[in-house]
Amino acid sequence: MATLAATASGRHHADAPELARKQRSLWGDAVYRLKRNRAVMAALAVVLVVAVLATLAPLIAPYDPIRQDTPNSLMEPFWGNPKFTLAQYPLGSDQLGRDILSRLIWSARISLLIGFVPVTLVFLVGATVGMAAGFYGRWVDNCLMRIVDIIYAFPDLLFLIIIMATLRGTFLGNLLGGLVLMFGAIAVVGWVGMARLVRGQVLSLREKEFVEAARATGATDGRIMFRHLFPNTLAPIIVSVAFGVPGAILAEATLSFLGIGIKPPTPTWGVMINEGFVVFSTTPWPVLLPAFCISLVMLAFTFLGDGLRDALDPRQRTK
């Protein structure tokens, strides 16, 4: 009996779903996983609401957040106030008679700015330095690693405290109620971590075949760095940035709470807690409400970060 060559028929079964499962791109796969993650979607909703409130603060907030109304100080929020009318302060007032709701909304602005501006600086400086250190090595790398050693010997918060404490009285420290100094301080403390991360990635990628191949085709250093290395370091960078945002928000809140962050009367949640703590044992709401807001925003950003990490780095998934 003669042997027969196989025909193309009959090869279709089971192959199609099989391929669909395996051949999704890293980014497509990440988006798919994010969408399936309910915690991430809820966190995203929270962040979007806060972002809208923050952007529209001047339109939404019922009062000027720093307007004082001393005769009506320490009013209860509407649920604790049987004689509440709409003309009053819906979430009560603090000991200077300022409207808590308006202050909460305006604080969201500061928090989001604190969350995103320094992280952008950290990304720009850290990624550039890390890329250069990893790619060129030698003295750039040596310098970076020495700085890393020193800064890593120090807890971030301690470093922030020293910077804030010493520079608060300067011109820089007074710009926008200390906001500019806070941006700078968080960026100064944070860029080292980013640089270290990118350096490590570049070091491990530098010797890979695709870089050799690019070099062999005559690509310039700049092209290799930005077209070949950078996209491959992007996933861990995104994760690091995602965790940098709640980190910065926490730093500001903590410093302001300790009285060495944003200067009153600029409202931030940390400042509100700091100021309200004096009357806390008798009137808790001026402290509890901003505490709730910080917690909510921190949780939302952390869940987003967790979700992004799980989506972008399947190896780190716990289950």
Partner: protein, 347 residues
């Protein structure tokens, strides 16, 4: 002779997010005391899972042995309670794993790891077990064994670590040793030494062993019988000489063609098997090898073949192929001279 091991219709499945993986799907075989058996197949065909199932070492969840019997010395391993199974592990059945780099505990000394089983199963005290450990290490060819007792695994080379693994497996004079790709992670020259050692020790101790490998070349001189696995099934069973002389499954032919040979002329290229092993969540409805088989006919895609005795062959030679069964279209095909092979399948 009563069989030492009899596996009947073993099914092991893994319950994953994407579906149930039927890693071992109805495997049956027997092994007599002192007999040696090779299980051969590509990675992902279920051979390691079979071995782990025999000792009930399948991680659960996600894995589970859903059906079948494993009769060892006449008793069903699957019906034993946990203590009984532990009494067998390392004692009557021992296992040698693939990667000696990761299979030894990095933070415990060599003597600790070898003597553990001795103290547990043979009730030796520290001194006795230490003495015995030295003997075992000498037996597997570790030079100056005595002075290396308190070394840690990282102080040993890969080949030496695999010798330690073998010493551990031998420590309680098991009746059966399962060796799962014992040489895959090693250098070629070391591979030969380790295989030699295994072969000699098994002969000396009259231990039955099952050698699991993806490389037909490795089992050639090692075992009396060979089972070829594909997609969770055994697709061919035969005596070793018979299998090499008269293979009866296109998958086995594929494996044989992909062994490099010294007498090959330059025009005869190595011919790998095209395609990937089947997805064991949704396996092909007919023969599992059909999607990659160059000899297949319509029936292969439609109905799964059974493992049956093949015509024109020795008595215990069985194959799971429509083509090589009695009346099939491949019964007289000689895989060596066949020229119609390698028609590329277009997707």
């Amino acid at each position: 002779m009563p069989e030492l091991l009899e596996v009947r219709d073993l099914h092991t499945q893994f319950f994953t997010r994407d579906g149930i993986v039927r890693a071992v799907d109805g495997v049956s075989f027997t092994l007599a005391a002192g007999e040696t058996l090779g299980i051969v197949g590509e990675s992902g065909c279920g051979k390691s899972v079979t071995a782990l199932s025999l000792m009930r070492l399948i991680p659960q969840p996600p894995g589970k042995i859903t059906q079948g019997e494993i009769l060892f010395d006449g008793r069903d391993v699957l019906k034993m309670d946990d203590d009984e199974v532990r009494g067998i592990r390392g004692n009557a059945i021992a296992m040698i794993f693939q990667d000696p780099m990761t299979s030894l505990n990095p933070v415990l000394t060599i003597s600790r790891q070898v003597s553990e089983a001795l103290e547990l199963h043979l009730k030796m005290d520290r001194n006795e077990s230490r003495k015995r450990t030295i003997e075992l290490l000498e037996l597997v060819g570790i030079p100056s064994a005595k002075s290396r007792l308190d070394d840690y695994p990282h102080q040993f080379s890969g080949g030496m670590r695999q010798r330690v693994m073998i010493a551990m497996a031998l420590s309680c004079n098991p009746k059966l040793i399962l060796a799962d790709e014992p040489t895959t992670a090693l250098d070629v020259t070391i591979q030969a030494q380790i295989l030699d050692l295994l072969k000699n020790l098994a002969r000396e101790f009259r231990t039955a062993f099952i050698l699991i490998t993806h490389d037909l070349g490795v089992v050639a001189g090692m075992t009396q019988r060979i089972h070829v696995m594909y997609g969770g099934h055994i697709v061919e069973k035969a005596d070793t000489n018979e299998l090499f002389a008269n293979p009866k499954h296109p998958y086995t032919w594929g494996l044989l063609r992909s062994i490099p040979r010294l007498d090959q002329t330059r025009r005869e290229k190595l011919r790998p098997i095209e395609g990937l092993p089947p997805d064991l969540i949704a396996p092909p409805p007919g023969c599992r090898f059909a999607p990659r088989c160059q000899y297949k006919r319509d029936i292969c895609d439609e109905k799964p073949p059974e493992l049956v005795a093949v015509p024109n062959a020795k008595a215990d030679h069985e194959s799971r192929c429509w083509g090589t069964q009695t009346g099939g279209w491949l019964t007289t095909t000689d895989w060596r001279t066949d020229t119609t092979v390698f028609t590329k399948v277009e997707a």
